[in-house]
Symmetry: C2
Subunit: 235 residues, 2 copies
DNA sequence: ACCTGAACACCGTTCAAGT
DNA sequence: ACCTGAACACCGTTCAAGT
């Protein structure tokens, strides 16, 4: 079960192979199943063997994050800044969606891996090249928050089973259970809102649409500030 | 050490007392120090005793979260919706700041405790009373994301030691270490931006300002959409 | 009837002993 | 010189044995 068919059983352990296996394990079994012991077993080695290639579990997680961030597309040159940022962020989003554990891992880490810093740096570069002041760019990065990296921590999360293999366990809870819908009438109302308008199947809401809605709200607001020559002194 | 001076050593265990102690422990020692065993020791009982009052650790965490959410101020009646929401969210923020572990706990939980649902419901109620359509209110809640609850997952977190007792360990890293400032010039530039403008001591940036900047950017954008009678069909 | 010590099945990580 | 079994100090939770 643990040994893969094609490879000779004694494929030498390498940092690369450890990272790929760790990511695959987290993707399919969930991040909570990623223990040094489980990972070692998956690789057919004794747990201690991993410590030859990674310092400890924290460093392993950092390296996994860096690999995911590395999947984000490079910026498209010669594009208007708003479109460039938009495309970049949507690419980040799809990378993070391929690895559902990554968003929370990034948040719980103290942050600041080289790959993340490189990505953020290039986003700032795009903002600056679009004519935004360093001052405004600074606040923009804060305002975007985790959305820069493609996730926004949806509060009522429709797809929270993050990290299950196979088809998503029950596509949607089919709106709210009636007893809590009664206790929280306004939530019930908006849960069923935008049914008629958008063409979403079932009662689920379109996460991608919500993400872009918020993203564009922010980008449009920022563009307006820039055009008005906003500085921190304004407020 | 574990027994408090004023109380008789046999203060009967109660859910209330367990929760208060758990929150205090997480506040002072950090969430990673909150184990059932540690908590029991703090209370002077055997770990198993806790299971008479809480089903398991997950339920304990949910109850702790609900208690923190309970600290959020009630909405001020008869206020214009934008101001009402703004005040509510800033109150949520200060509650979450008093308990630095809470934001991450909320995110990692599957979400949807009664207190959180009640809070979200009342925020939606305010939006609706301000004349926003259920459709727009829906998207607004998504756009706000975790900011509705007062946190935004700052990506470059200036105060990430969350959960240390005593004075904050070194107020600020004094800008970026020069070697990484060289590798990420645009980050370095915005890190030192808004120095002259705002009156922030040291090189830190004003988290509260950044939060309100983003909040107002969103609220202003939403107000404009509302005034224009925006619906999902627009896009 | 109530309480709890010991135990179970896990962690991440160390270290000395074996080849 | 290299590898690794056993061990350490933890987890959350169960359960049978003790009062």
């Amino acid at each position: 079960m643990a040994e893969q068919a094609g490879t000779p059983r004694r494929t030498p352990l390498s940092r690369e192979r450890i990272l790929r296996t760790a990511i695959a394990l987290a993707d399919t079994a969930g991040i909570e199943s990623l223990s040094m012991r489980n990972l070692a077993q998956e690789l057919g080695v004794v747990p201690m063997a991993l410590y030859k290639h990674v310092a400890n579990k924290d460093e392993l997680l950092d390296a996994m994050i860096d690999m995911v961030v590395g999947e984000i597309d490079a910026p498209i040159p010669d594009t208007e800044w708003k479109q460039a940022i938009r495309g970049r962020i949507l690419s980040a989003r799809s990378a993070l969606q391929r690895h559902p554990w990554a968003a929370l891992a990034i948040e719980s880490r103290n942050m600041a891996t080289p790959a993340i810093l490189g990505y953020l740096d290039s986003v700032v570069a795009t903002l600056r090249s679009g004519g935004l002041s360093a001052d405004l760019a600074h606040h923009v990065m804060h305002a975007m928050g985790s959305r820069v990296l493609g996730f926004s921590q949806e509060l009522f999360d429709t797809t929270r089973d993050a990290g299950r293999s196979g088809p998503n366990t029950a596509p949607q809870p089919a709106a709210l259970p009636p007893e809590i819908a009664a206790r929280f009438p306004h939530l019930a109302e908006i849960a069923t809102a935008s049914h008629d308008e958008t063409s979403v199947v079932g009662s689920g809401c379109d996460d991608q649409f919500e993400f872009e809605f918020a993203l564009d709200l922010l980008l449009d607001g920022i563009e307006r500030l820039q055009q008005r020559g906003w500085t921190s002194a304004h407020r």
